[in-house]
Homo-oligomer: 198 residues x 2
């Protein structure tokens, strides 16, 4: 059940650039494996094969499986929310992009992983929430403040709940596919209208 090894990697001491690239590759491969198998079910051998390295290297780079998982989540947490650069445009366009992003397979899977392991990694739950939900809500609040006035800013949090909606709960349970960008925008507009923000 391991990933296909297409070519043997060369041995020997790597350059500094190779080290950085290898670390990134391990983290990236780990995401794929953990999303497919879950934390408990993923074996270190599987993780190593997916990253095209040996277990030796995994342990040399990260110490153990727990640390690799933590490093992966920490690494991803930075990119969990939308780019700040894309932080212009109308409120409804922002809301639509948030819906699309938050319902994506990648983010839903990451959320599922962290929820499942929240007991063993409480810090990761905090990090994920700070960089995800909290940031999205803050961004919505800024836009509402700018477009509709400061008095409506407290609507950002309930708006975010509507943007998630029942669909996101079904997503976490694996019952629904990810929405398209068009569906996401439609849902965002409907949510704004319900709070008289349309």
């Amino acid at each position: 059940m391991y990933a296909q090894v297409t070519s043997a990697r060369k041995r020997g001491r790597p350059t500094a650039a190779e080290r950085r690239a290898r670390e990134a590759e391990i983290l990236s491969a780990a995401l794929g494996v953990f999303l497919r198998s879950g934390f408990g079910n993923a074996t270190v051998g599987e993780l190593a094969a997916a990253a095209q390295v040996t277990k030796r290297t995994i342990y040399a780079y990260f110490g153990d499986k727990d640390a690799l998982f933590a490093a992966m989540v920490q690494d991803l947490a930075v990119t969990v929310s939308l780019d700040t650069a894309s932080d212009h445009g109308t409120l409804s366009s922002l809301a639509g992009r948030i819906v699309f992003r938050v319902h994506s397979d990648e983010l839903v899977g990451l959320h599922r992983l962290v929820i499942a392991e929240a007991g063993r990694f409480p810090e990761l739950a905090r990090v994920l929430h700070s960089n995800g939900d909290a940031r999205h809500i803050a961004r919505l609040a800024e836009h509402i403040r700018a477009e509709r006035g400061p008095s409506l800013a407290p609507l950002a949090e309930p708006l975010f709940s509507l943007l998630l909606g029942e669909r996101h709960r079904r997503r976490l349970l694996g019952l629904d596919p990810a929405p398209s960008a068009g569906e996401a925008l439609d849902h965002a507009k409907a949510s704004l209208a319900r709070l008289s923000l349309g």
Copy 2:
């Protein structure tokens, strides 16, 4: 780390009533253990000790660990939503009770378990959603229809999303404690007001 065994249970063939009681006891104990440890981390020995039986009996009753987990979730799914009997009173009182129930440690923990194992037990995810969220939304829709007219019934689903709110996401991540009954009612009233259902 096993539960303390206070008294040795008698041996020998049990009566029919004892069998039923024992099965219920195993299911109940399994909930506690799975909530504490998660599915993967809970051992069959732990489950057996918590139920005051031996592993032999667990296997005789349920076959294997997977089947025990499935039986437990199926058993609980029936009681996941509010009693139909308590289905009277005002809309805001119903909403308050739903908030309280859905944010309870027990339901949040069950949700967390099923989300974590949704890959291996997709049927359980369906059962939990049908008996939980879907039923709550249907009940809200009935009340809205009766109190405010049929045209507002489609608001039941967004209302349910507001009732969960950001708090429930934080609950799943283990970041917040369960709300008191008073807090639950306050939040329900605020949510109704936001949708002009107050």
